[in-house]
Amino acid sequence: MGADTITRTNRVTALAPWLLVLPATMAVFALLAVPVGSTLAESFSNPLGVFENYRRFFASDYNRMVVLRSFWIAFATTAIALAAGFFAAYLIAGSGPRTKRILILLSVFPLLTGVVVRSFGWMVILGRNGILNNALIELGLINAPLSLLFNQGAVLVGMVYLFLPLMILSLVGVLETIDQDLYSAAESLGSSPFGVFRQVTFPLALPGMVVGSILVFTGSLATFVTPRLLGGERQMTLATLLHEKAIISFDWEAANTIATIMIVLTALSLVALGMLAKRLSPKGRA
């Protein structure tokens, strides 16, 4: 009887981990794998041919422009966030523990509010009767309000604002791990502060730059609210086009196709960035 109890206990113990992950696995399967799978399947199920939906999509000049624009916006957002984020992160990583905490808190503060709220915030600032236009008119710098919204500039401003915290956090993470003595060593060997930055800080920060870029690039390729609110009809991206096809024109075939294209593009970008990272990243790191 005693042996039997032990065996049963063992069996339950062995099964326990599987039982514990089951609910989450089922949820992921039901809520993610099934819908994504059916989206992929639908996009290839045009009776006129497997790739008919794609042929049709890419036949349109407008659609091709949207793809390029989405790519360009994601690329520009990443580049700007990288440049701006690097210096912020460098400053944060180099400051004392107390200042560091405060600065990190400040840089992630925007993440505490929703995307919609943050994009609306920019509408309030950039609108025809927005804060910026009013201020410029009050100062007498302009006579009539500028149209600052619904152009690519507005989208980029909103996107960079949206994703900068992610970039900063990725970079702080890697900059913090760089041994301060490496800077001292480089300086003692005759390297000017700029030389130290170029020859030590930059190459050692590359892994963080790649991680941050992947987060920002894929994020801005997929984001919908910001281009919708700040770009409007004239700055259609893949995400907003998908929304329009699905919700406004009920063209689910096109929506599925766009969704698949976005998934593929994101995956390809990930692979490309990964390869770039491998080529650029310092070898021999433990």
């Binding site: 490496l182 001292s184 003692s188 390297s191 000017s192 021999g284 790191r285 433990a286």
Partner: protein, 355 residues
């Protein structure tokens, strides 16, 4: 006037509000190896960072080979530094690490490659030129760090606890290797360590530091036999410091009295001249344990510790507790009455300090 390779004049330094160096003076002659020795927080690393230019003194001046460098940034001083954790660039190969300083000095290929190869040859790492630091052992990293600092032909080489991350055996080997490299190149060097044996074995002179000051800067032999005060004396192992007052001088012999009214006789031929009040310092092996007599300090054997070839005893005397070694062949028992004499030629005489 011969200019010193290094001179520090009245250096005062602060970290935030706390003063860490209090008017430090030091000069190092050309080709000399001087160690800064002291416990952590004594200011030795601060001194090194000041010399390197990573921090600026609040007052005072620093000169290298007679040239004032107080206001120069680190990259204009040309000092070679070996860091405690080596600080090798993880993204560069061994050869690139060693060539880093030459590259900053615009030494072009193939000259740079030649000098790097020669340096790697000298530290025995030629076959590791294309490895990354992560693929090296501690001792090899140490050599790369040394090669990187030496290849730029620095007027001054500074080593910050360079051996503290190595195991005991390797430490001794590297120590002599460093010393040989330094001598062969007639390199002026400053060596920071908290390890007394290391400092004494490698240095021409040792600066013993305490609380932001250099207490004594002398050759190891001098420090070991003639410390200038109680701090240095304790540091180099004079565990027994007994204040004495001379009560009678009789030619070569003085009779002096310690606390508790106990008297002992010393021979001036061995101790050198003494003032009327002084402190005598003795290592445990500098005390002789014998039978009680009227020229020795009476005591009672306390705790006994086995040290291998000798026993060490804690002995209670009217002048305070003393620590003395006795032969292994004749162990003494706790509570035994003994007489303690000073082996004067092994003792040191210190001025009485007011405290």
């Amino acid at each position: 006037m011969q200019s010193n390779a290094v001179s520090l004049n009245d250096i005062v330094a602060h970290y935030g509000n706390s003063q860490v160096l209090h008017g430090l003076n030091m000069s190092v002659a050309d080709g000399e190896l001087v160690s800064l020795l002291g416990s952590s927080g004594c200011g030795k690393t601060t001194t090194l960072r000041l010399l390197a230019g990573f921090i600026r003194p609040s007052s005072g001046s620093i000169a290298l080979s007679g040239r004032d460098v107080t206001g120069l940034p680190p990259y204009r001083r040309g000092i070679g530094i070996v860091f405690q954790n080596y600080a090798l660039f993880p993204h560069l190969t061994v050869a690139q690490n060693v060539g880093f300083g030459l590259k900053q000095r615009q030494v072009a290929e193939p000259e740079r490659g030649k000098r790097v190869a020669a340096m790697l040859e000298r530290v025995g790492l030629s076959s590791f030129a294309d490895r990354y630091p992560s693929a090296l052992s501690g001792g090899q990293r140490q050599r790369v760090a040394l090669a990187r600092a030496l290849v730029i032909d620095p007027p001054l080489l500074m080593l910050d606890e360079p051996l503290s991350n190595l195991d005991a055996k390797l430490r001794v080997d590297m120590r002599s290797e460093i010393r040989e490299l330094q001598r062969a190149n007639k390199r002026t060097a400053i060596y920071v360590t908290h390890d007394q044996e290391e400092a004494f074995s490698i240095s021409d002179r040792v600066a013993i530091m305490d609380a932001g000051r250099i207490v004594q800067l002398d050759a190891p032999e001098t420090l070991f036999t003639r410390p200038v005060n109680a701090f240095v004396a304790r540091f180099v192992g004079f565990e027994n410091l007994v204040p004495m007052i001379v009560v009678e001088r009789d030619g070569d012999r003085v009779i002096c009295e310690a606390a508790g009214g106990v008297r002992t006789t010393l021979s001036l031929a061995a101790t050198g001249p003494v003032g009327d009040r002084f402190v005598i310092g003795a290592r445990p092996e500098g005390l002789a344990i014998g039978a009680p007599s009227n020229s020795t300090i009476p005591g009672t054997i306390g705790v006994r510790t086995y040290l291998g070839r000798t026993y060490q005893y804690r002995i209670d005397t009217p002048a305070g507790p003393l620590v003395a070694n006795g032969p292994f062949s004749q162990p003494l028992q706790q509570g035994e009455a003994v007489g303690i004499g000073f082996l004067a030629d092994q003792c040191c005489i210190l001025p009485m300090e007011n405290n």
